[in-house]
Symmetry: C2
Subunit: 358 residues, 2 copies
């Protein structure tokens, strides 16, 4: 069933059907109604492939993420889809799983399907691959990384705002030995977080050197805590490069019978939905997934729909901020009696700032 079939049945030309469907105002209302009736009767939907062919636009946006199984991303995907539906776009989702081969295939798939733009939400990507997309003048939007050239939008994450809050929160709770569990070393975004931690610690005269490397997954958090425990001067608080790491820490702490937050304060990063439901609920730095997706989508849309503004705003910023839950507490005052050994942890942080995202 094609547009000609409709034309025949409605006794008009295909041009008229096309105009009707695309709501060109010059078509006679009477006729339009006749066409619409046939369209509805037959349940006709225009063939997007054919349309894309002549229009030169597919109305598909590519979305490249690191791994969809990381709870950080589904929220992003959902928001992205919501916006896509709203604007009559489709999404071509690919997950690189940190595999260079998959990254390459991701880019190829984007090009083959002729997407109108690509959001690269994988915190780290081989430069050479991007070239292929740039060569084809496909609008791109990056987070953190990404060169400063026209046609490429950048979302800068303001890590320092949230991380500084977190560090100062811990310091205010009398913690001085604050450790950091970093993300994979090659990830730019992980590096940025680590730098923000370093800066924040130095600012208030604390040593930023208690760092162990994780992998942004729960397993990494578990191992990291093990390592931290081997140290002679154990930290009393630990800040994690992402929430998954923090969840791993929580889990290992349970295994080791370390009480959170009484024995150890834990702070995460990302504020994934799950963070509200960990045991105990996780104090973490919020980086709104909803906000990130929204910025990314709109940047793409803007680039495509009014290419005139191509050299307007190309850089966006997303701020981060601390959300208090219950995984931090006053440091045990070692060798002093100022702080009671045992305190009622469930009532301590009652003025919790609940996440307002999504």
């Amino acid at each position: 069933m094609d547009i000609r079939e409709i034309a025949r049945r409605a006794k008009v030309s295909t041009a008229t059907v096309s105009r009707t469907i695309n709501r060109v105002p010059t078509v006679d209302p009477q006729l339009a109604k006749r066409v619409w009736r046939v369209v509805d009767e037959l349940g006709y939907y225009p063939n997007t492939q054919a349309r894309a062919l002549v229009l030169g636009r597919t109305r598909i946006f590519g979305l490249i993420v690191s791994e969809i199984t990381n709870p950080f991303f589904p929220e992003i995907v959902q928001t992205f889809e919501d916006l896509a539906v709203e604007n009559k776009y489709e999404i071509l989702l690919t997950s690189t799983v940190h595999d260079p081969k998959r990254m390459e295939s991701s880019v190829r798939r984007m090009i083959e399907r002729r997407v109108d733009g690509v959001a690269i939400l994988t915190f780290g990507m081989e430069e050479s691959l991007i070239e292929h997309l740039r060569d084809r003048k496909v609008p791109l939007v990056f987070v953190d990384v990404g060169p400063d050239v026209p046609g490429i939008a950048n979302i800068r994450i303001n890590y320092i705002s949230g991380i500084r809050q977190a560090v100062q929160h811990l310091a205010a709770m009398r913690h001085t030995r604050i450790a950091f569990i970093a993300g994979p070393e090659h990830l730019k975004s992980a590096g940025a977080r680590r730098d923000a931690f370093r800066t924040s610690m130095l600012e208030i005269g604390l040593s930023p050197d208690l760092v162990v490397i994780g992998d942004h997954r729960m397993e990494g958090g578990m191992n990291a805590l093990l390592e931290l425990n081997k140290m002679s001067a154990r930290p009393t608080a630990v800040m994690c490069s992402n929430d998954m790491t923090a969840i791993g820490v929580l889990r290992e702490a349970y295994e080791q019978n370390i009480k959170i937050p009484d024995d150890l304060s834990v702070v995460g990063f990302d504020d994934i939905h799950l963070a509200e439901f960990t045991i105990p609920p996780l104090t973490t730095v919020q980086m709104s997934q909803h906000g990130l997706a929204e910025i990314a989508f709109n940047a793409l849309l803007n680039e495509v729909e009014n290419s005139t503004s191509s050299r307007e705003q190309h850089s966006y910023e997303l701020v981060t901020s601390l959300v208090l839950r219950k995984s931090t507490a006053l440091a045990r005052a070692v060798g002093s009696a100022i702080v009671p050994e045992k305190s009622n942890r469930t009532t301590r942080h009652r003025k919790v700032a609940e996440s307002s995202a999504r």
Copy 2:
């Protein structure tokens, strides 16, 4: 840059380029090499839209899920994508978010983009919408629901196998008051789980009536535990319709200072990746997401690639089975001294059967 450009530069006809690219064996190797060189030089990728137009196949599979933010689904999406890449397909992913409007738009999007098949992994879908797809002879694969007609494959989940194991495990631990936190009432899959619980309980002469309704989300689990606590004869064990519910229970138990598993045994359902990392690690019934996705994809592929076998196997089965972790324990022997009040919970379940699914 199109196929004609390549033809011109390689000094052959477009037909030859097409044949080369599609590896038709009759083309002269010498010539083929010349063509390939030009293709690589220019970084040419065939336009899939044009290809789809003439071939009548898009090499896109639709994947409809309930909500991508539910941790059950990302694993499925990942596996689906892995298989798609392997077989040179793309995925059109839509998330219904339990909204009838979105379901409708999902189906429309599938039709508009002319997908070659659709996997409906949303445990409940309006029948009328499916008609649109069936009318167009789009191969479909369902889970649980779905009529028994040619062109529609069905994946039957064997709920009873795993749930019976879970119930008997609890009974063996001397639990008699075992509650069930059900899923949303309108969901067929939730109903099937509840029925399996009922059957399993009756089989061993226990009352299956301690049921409260949840929503398959953490919030539902939290509320359900609250309700369970109001009862005069509190259950000593609770089985949940899915893992998210169980995680909610764990969370609320922490809030109420109810010790899991000492005060209450908890069993989940699904075995999402996270279940291994809850506190305590969740004993749950495994329904392999990987397996499910694999069956779904292959059913679709089979339907499309060799439509001859159209009336061969149309029904697939996925079995479920219990995986023991640490959220269940012996029931407190009320008013007797057989079981010690306090026992070392971390060593009780050492013969844990770790999940083997990824």
